[in-house]
Amino acid sequence: MSKRVVILGGGTGGTLSANRLRRLCPVGDVEIVVVDQNDAHIYQPGLLFVPFGLAHADEIVRSRADQLHKGIEFRQNPVDHVDTESDSVYLEGGTVLEYDVLVVATGSVLVEEETEGLTGPGWMEKAFTFYDPVGAVALHEALEYFEGGRVVVNVVDMPIKCPVAPLEFCFLADWFFQQQGVRDRVELTYVTPLDGAFTKPVAAAKLAGLLEEKGVALVTEFNTGEVDGSGGRLVSYDGREVGFDLAVVVPLHGGATYVSRSPGLGDELGFVPVDAHSLQSAAKPNVFAIGDAAGVPTSKAGSVTHFEGEVLVENIRRFLAGEPLDGSYDGHANCFIETGFGKALLIDFNYDVEPVSGHFPAAVGLPLLKESRLNHLGKLMFQPLYWHSLLPGHNLPGVGSAMPTRGKDNEQVS
């Protein structure tokens, strides 16, 4: 009898896992069902470019169903909840899907309403986010007509998707306002809850240096309690204020809402706690999670999801065959950081090793932790690779799941 694998979410993790699994397991042995509430697959790294007119929102969205290989069933339906006791997914509308293996790949959602005032007066007029297409487009219009004043880029609290994106936004804003000829009339400030520009010390120092070089002020340990859109100020819980004429806010993130309605599945924020190496749920051995939905101690980023995919699919195959899981995900993440003027940095790290300088993936390769035009081209080249190699589940040449150490200046590694 064939087994059924139900994958909740048709984004990066759900799609590449389904496609890899389809190639690995014969159709007669394993039935694969992907469930998503809509059919819009967004290339999320593209959202960063929309506010600056460097990408259009409709260019970065494709059909979810079209990215899935033949032999994978796609169901467009919201999920009501999961019952891990009976191995069943309850869809809205009453359909029940039983599974042998469940993969939670529904990413994270923005919870703007958790921050006082954020969606109140001034939202989408003076306070924006570029973390969804509607916000990114609205922000593009606001930036085009911005003639000067105080611009703040604010991360409310971690975790967020792509923790480097708000920094990239600052760098690109510096470039954009120079192009517009108004940079001397714009005061740029980056306001973060962290105690530095970034979480990892070596990269944080490098990125703080870049902010300074580009004239972006840095406010740290700012826990945003309120965004007062009409008054134009961010207010922290400890009573500090940062004034703005235009605010770019990265809202709080949580897991998909059905996770909280599913007994035992998620944590306080709706993310699914899994073993950091095998990606198997603590709640039930036939439940796995991948990507932003998974509660593992690394960045919520597409590269993480990509590297997790290889391990996840092999572990599902092993689980279905009754073999022990090999559990080899090392926390590998790899991020291009756009720094403006056609340049970018590249960082590469895992659970144990922080980003350092050197070259990726070996001594001859892209420069790490250093601005270069090559990295910018790498970032641009990644979009077609995403649709045509990564989602279909092909290995990218020279880029494997495990973090490479060749080519790195390892004396910086503590």
């Binding site: 971690m158 990892k200 309690g225 709080l252």
Partner: protein, 105 residues
Amino acid sequence: MTVVTYAGTAVTVNDEGFFEDPTQWTEAMAPEIARTEDIGELTEPHWQVIKFMRAEYAAKGTGPTVRILGKTSGVSVKELYQLFPKGPAKVAAKIAGIPKPRGCI
């Protein structure tokens, strides 16, 4: 690493003053640590948070972040800042004798 004395007992703390070994902590030390953080008197709500931090650390191996504290401790984030004005997660962790919360990456 530094050795400091709280409630008459020597304990090891790191450069930022967080306990290296949470088992060295006793309730009697909490008021003294609190004074180093400019908190005059530990009230009942302070203790509620401190005990919650200890329990979370015992269960999960790390203290909760402010946002998770606000969702799960029974004390709202606003009240948490009134109790621990310099930052609830960090200061309460220090007073509770557990390492600095790792937070999220």
